[in-house]
Amino acid sequence: MRRKLGRLAAVLGCLSLGSLVLTACAGGQVRHGVGGPNTVSFALPPSATPNWILPLPIPGYTASYNGVIQSALFVPLYAYDGSSGEVGMDQRASAAEPPVYAPDGKSVTITLKPLTWSDGMPMTTKDVQFWLDMVRAAKDDWGAYSKGLMPDNVTGFHIVDDHTFTLTMDKTYNPGWFTANQLTLITPLPQHAWAKDPDPRKAFDYLVGQAKQLGAYNTNPLWKVVNGPFALDSFSSSQITLAKNPRYTGPDAAHLDKVTFLTFTSSAAEYNVLLAGGVDYGYVPTTNLGQKGKLESLGYRVEPWNGWSITYIPYNFNNPALGKAFEQLYLRQAIQHAVDQKAISQVIWRGTATPGYGPVPQNNDPTFLSDVQKNNPYPFDLNASKKLLADHGWRPGPDGVQECQDANACGVAKGTRLSMTLLTESGSDETDGTMQELKSELSKAGIELRINAQPLNTVLANGTTCEPSSPACAWQLSYFGTQGSWYFPAYPSGEQLFATDAGVNFGNYRDKPTDDLITASTLSTSSQSMVDYSARLAEQLPVIWMPNPPYQVSAIDSALGGVTQDPMAGLQIQRWYRTR
């Protein structure tokens, strides 16, 4: 009898394990963070360890947050961020006074602020020239290079005095665009300490070589010469600490003694630590947004951090099977009508994402936003989708998938089936959910969507520009997922995205009027061309417009002040302070 009872216990044991999970309940108030009293710890996104300290970007060393570290140590010539409430120049965080353009718009005069390097040397125009010389000498290895733009478009550099210089351009540019998207690339570098070789190319190679030695960041004297509000305290692959630079002479001195950046393997790991009070400034995975109240009771304030970005799914217009179909605007309209952006934003993103109907970031800044884009020309409407297809000669086949019955009406060969494959990022609940929702709604309109989820790298490697004949053009739709939103520089023009043959125009979208509008947006001084561009692409649907998720949903220690959630993804850590 005893034996039998025992066996029963073993079976019951199986059943009872899960109930442990139920017992989760509120913990007590915990002191957040891991450092001393005037320090703050910040949680980095999963697998995003900064890996490049040199403020000259190099392909392959493009971890997010490199820029945050760099700009805290080396003040950029011009900083743009959203700290003022909309995206614009942040004068305090810039190394120079606002630029003065010549009336013909072909040259610009810039005056540096009286900043000092931490070894006591003043920052001078030579430091800017040092940057320009190196980038000119090694532009092909410089990560931000784009043919025809910086440094090709700067034809002359003229030193007026130690603090003033003039740049001459090859043609007239829109000053707003030039400052925001070109001058922001420049960072004065400590020429006296870093120019180990008079030849700028060799100097560049030397610095890059040094910067590749991550293990030596702590000790390398090069990186001790900084002019920003912070200096490097310690650097390891799992944790980076910046300490206040006591010799900073600018107007934007740091309040905190130290800021520590923590790395995490997964957002779940980060969230566990957040709940246990291990970080001051972390993020909440969307799936855990239901826990807002609990986080608040733990002393965090929970705020979405909106990005200066748009999110979309490119069509591969070069795909041999469906490229022709994708070229049909009515089909793109039918697909866009089947995207329930509001529901995806509300349910899957828990209200933190913003529906996006066009090429301009829609939630931060109304300057460039057209009414067409704002008002959504193609709202969620499955009947509209079906009607568009029916009107153009498509009929559902026996399996419910639309089939072209009339080549003339369809614009594609008779018998073409609306069955398409979407290459998407794996490992994200929100992406999975979005894809399932998309698949589900499209299926109701008779469009079959096959989801092929792959690690982000595979998606990136496969979903790129291709020739129609190449096997690489097998992809039809690709979604980079939550990490794949496009973050604009300060001026959200589309020269990299939707211009014919642009670098990131993966789907080979070609539209002459669009090209003209994009050119106008960078060269003309009026902002109307941007508004027209917004309207044009909201109507033309070069891609499937998707809800734009926030950069992250932050959980910030309520005792941490001075935080602006900058849409440009900057942190301005020097302005953080503790209220307790």
């Binding site: 989760a24 899957i348 959910g433 989820a453 595979t458």
Partner: protein, 287 residues
């Protein structure tokens, strides 16, 4: 305890003489679970293809969902059934495949002996030394997962343990008099392997197979946990669990407990059955 990705986990010899109570309990549980997964959807049909964002995250009992709904509005009870089909199908197929490959491999090594044995077993050693997780990650980037593909992949990374078992068994059987007698009288290698070694190892293989199935179900759970599982809207218990785990702090227990219990229950049950089979075979061996 589990072992992610542990095709390589050394299988534990389990106790003999644990009466058949547990085995019976295991069998009953398995029958119930299989019936639940196969017959359940007929009695309780739900839409597991189309999302219903307007009915997402309902707690149990709301709007006629006995176990609530998940974040996309799928009915959890219905989802548990179709997820079970995937988990069980992959588990059984992968377990059988692994056992079959392992059996033949091990029989050849154990019976062949000499250099053949050395070569085959070094390959097994190599396989054991490469983390299965690595192979699975690579496989996932090469192919689109489906039930068959996953079963194939998991089967192909977990045949090592049965191979070692079978090799040991074959090496023992090779020395048995009946094998010697028939070899001496002119039986060929194939005849010995297929007519004598494999049938005699069936007991070991059946036991190994059950444990292999249990392991495969866990492995599927891991693979899904890593985001490499069957593509949605199909799902399996591991995928449900890993998704549910993200809702731990919401108190959405209905997203965690059902798949969690299902996995633990089925794996326990299969292990019970495996133990029972081992006992039964041990008893027959003694008779």
């Amino acid at each position: 305890m589990t072992t992610i990705a542990l095709p390589v986990r050394s299988r534990l010899p389990r106790s003999r003489l644990r009466g058949n109570g547990l085995a019976l309990a295991g069998t009953v549980i398995l029958v119930l679970v299989v019936a639940f997964c196969l017959v359940g959807p007929l009695l309780y049909p739900t839409d597991q293809v189309h999302t219903a964002l307007d009915a997402s995250r309902l707690s149990p009992g709301q709007q006629g969902h006995p176990l609530g709904t998940d974040d996309l509005g799928y009915d959890v009870l219905g989802r548990l059934m179709i997820a079970g089909r995937t988990s069980l199908a992959i588990g059984v197929l992968a377990g059988l495949l692994a056992t079959a490959i392992g059996a033949i491999w091990g029989a050849l090594a154990g019976y062949g002996g000499g250099w053949l044995d050395a070569v085959l077993m070094r390959i097994v050693d190599t396989g054991v030394a490469i983390p299965a997780l690595f192979l699975l990650l690579v496989a996932a980037t090469l192919i689109t997962p489906s039930v068959l593909v996953l079963a194939l992949v998991i089967g192909c990374v977990s045949w090592l343990v049965p191979a070692r078992l079978m090799r040991a068994e074959a090496a023992t059987l090779r020395e048995r008099d009946f094998v010697k007698a028939i070899t001496v009288m002119g039986a060929g290698r194939l005849r010995v392997v297929f007519r004598h070694l494999l049938p005699n190892a069936v007991g070991t293989l059946v036991v190994a197979g059950t444990f292999q199935i249990a392991d495969a179900i866990l492995l599927v759970a891991y693979v899904s946990f890593l985001g490499l599982g069957v593509p949605p809207p199909a799902t399996d218990w591991g995928a449900m669990l890993s998704k549910g785990i993200t809702y731990t702090y919401d108190g959405a227990w209905w997203l965690i407990l059902p798949p969690g219990i299902a996995i633990v229950l089925v794996v326990c049950a299969i292990n019970f059955v495996g133990d029972g089979l081992r006992d039964a075979l041990a008893a027959r061996g003694r008779a």
